[in-house]
Amino acid sequence: MALVCTFNWTGYYLTFEVVWPVAGWLAVARRFAGAARQEAIVETLTFIVHNLPIIGERTLEHISIVGVAVGVAILTGVPVGIAITQSQRTADTVLYLGSIVMTIPSIALFGALIPLLSKIHQGIGYLPAVIAAMLYAQLPIIRNTYTAIRNVDPALRSAAIGMGMSTPQRLARVEIPIALPVIIAGIRVAVVINIGVTAIAAYIGAGGLGTFISRGISQTDIRQLITGALALGLLAIVADYGLLWLQQRLTPKGYASLDPA
């Protein structure tokens, strides 16, 4: 049976994964076209080698924000995605709201969170970064979960109920295992989006790899810019492939190999 994944993640991938680092890469290219090309490469490599501990630290900060945000988004988004399969009306509303969130520029969302979270003295820093990233992760996770569960063959549902499975048993033994590859594809999209969003969270003092880029821009320091762009790109690729591996591992063995993304 066909598992259809309607989520267009290429668009998000382009926005968050390509456009942002490319800004850095363009600066790199311009610099490298000049006479001091060799010098720039050597300078950047030297910078990277000398700052490995701080790069590692910021990578961990980045992973911690993305990890917590996606973790919370999975814990909320998957149940919501399953729940809304019960009602077309609710599903439309929830997916619509999710789409609206996706259209808010991340920098504006951070701005909007400052007055709200200031009330608990968390206007900037880690918490707003996690909350914003978590909101961006909702749509891909909810939509893929919803689509995957909806696409489970009605005959399987009918057979499961007819054989005497309760609703939780049916979800746990039949519907979720069958939907899992598509749900994980949604999580992959969410992770990649979040790595991009979190880079921007450097501007509200959340730390992470975006710090190299924001400082590189403000200090016109090409070394930091390249370091940040390289590390972000690498992190996104590693995370995406890691989750792809997991997705393939968790695809029910009886299926012909399928990559819903």
Partner: protein, 321 residues
């Protein structure tokens, strides 16, 4: 074993109330196969699905083994009723063995016992357990998959089986084979079976009793031979077809019409056996123009004779089975 009392299902639609099943009452005895027969949209599947409460009746009662199913927990009720559907519905994330073991697992059987039961059932359905137990449904042909579907329904040894056009999607050769296997198995298992079909030939072959549905109502409920001999109304007569007499031949055995005789028979001469049905007798009588055929046993000795007149008398006369 199963008793339906004035079972009714109505649906509210924008254009008013539609009655899918209208006061259907019938009773199926232990060990019998009852085929619910009719054109699509006649309410036969809805009736079946009200028995395991996949559809809640609007009014009327269903008794299984004397107990009112209104009072039973639907989930537990379904575990005590085998269910086979046309789309088969094997779970693609589970092996054949795990699929067969679904209900036993729900009932909390031990793993070893579930595996033994699955092996036993696959063997019973002509699937080599060593070969099939650990395969996935995507690796099975349609006929093999539906055999697994039947095995899965039988896994916890439920006294009642509900089968919703189980063999309708199979090719004719496979369908005949799996019907024969099912009938052979039924001889030993004696389940109470409700079997939905739209195919009169399948119904005549499988059924102890046939319930013909017409627009949600039970048009006739009778043994196949009686139904074919005396259709209750125009609808039933047209549904079972103008060749209904020919269809009757399938359900009558030579043993029922032969007169005792003895002697021996020349090698290669025409003969029938007591267990043959009358289709073979009719074919031979028509083909060769003879009036009488000898009936032989396994050793080739004549045990009786079938005459053209005896066949005609049987078709015209008593309906005893």
């Amino acid at each position: 074993m199963i008793r339906l009392e004035a079972l009714t299902k109505t649906y509210a639609t924008p254009r008013g109330t539609v009655t899918a099943v209208d006061h259907v009452s019938l009773e199926v005895d232990v060990g019998q196969i009852c085929v619910l027969l009719g054109p699509s949209g006649c309410g036969k599947t809805t009736t079946l699905r009200m028995i395991n409460r996949l559809v809640a009746p609007t009014s009327g009662k269903v008794f299984v083994d004397g107990r009112d199913t209104d009072l039973a927990n639907p989930v537990e009720l379904r575990r005590s009723i085998g269910y086979v559907i046309q789309q088969i519905g094997l779970f693609p994330n589970m092996t054949v063995g795990e699929n067969v073991g679904v209900v036993p697992r729900l009932l909390g059987w031990r793993t070893e016992r579930i595996r033994r039961r699955a092996q036993e059932l696959l063997a019973m359905l002509a699937l080599e357990p060593g070969l099939f137990l650990d395969r996935y449904p995507s690796e099975l042909s349609g006929g093999q998959a539906q055999r697994v579907g039947v095995a899965r329904a039988l896994a916890a040894d439920p006294p009642v089986l509900l089968m919703d056009e189980p063999f309708a999607a199979l090719d004719p050769v496979n369908r005949e084979a799996i019907q024969d296997e099912f009938l052979r198995m039924q001889q030993a298992l004696r389940k109470t079976v409700l079997f939905v079909s739209h195919d009169i030939d399948e119904a005549v072959k499988m059924a102890d009793r046939i319930a013909i549905f017409q627009a949600g109502r039970l048009a006739q409920y009778a043994a196949p031979d009686e139904l074919l001999a005396r259709p209750a109304n125009e609808f039933v007569a047209s549904f079972i077809g103008s060749d209904r007499t020919l269809k009757r031949l399938r359900r009558i055995r030579v043993a029922e019409v032969m007169a005792p005789a003895n002697g021996t028979i020349a090698a290669g001469a025409l003969a029938v056996r007591a267990s043959d049905d009358l289709r073979r007798v009719a074919a031979l009588l028509l083909e060769t123009g003879v009036e009488t055929l000898p009936c032989i046993d396994d050793a080739g000795r004549i045990v009786g004779r079938v005459t053209r007149a005896a066949v005609a008398a049987r078709l015209a006369g008593a309906l005893a089975r």
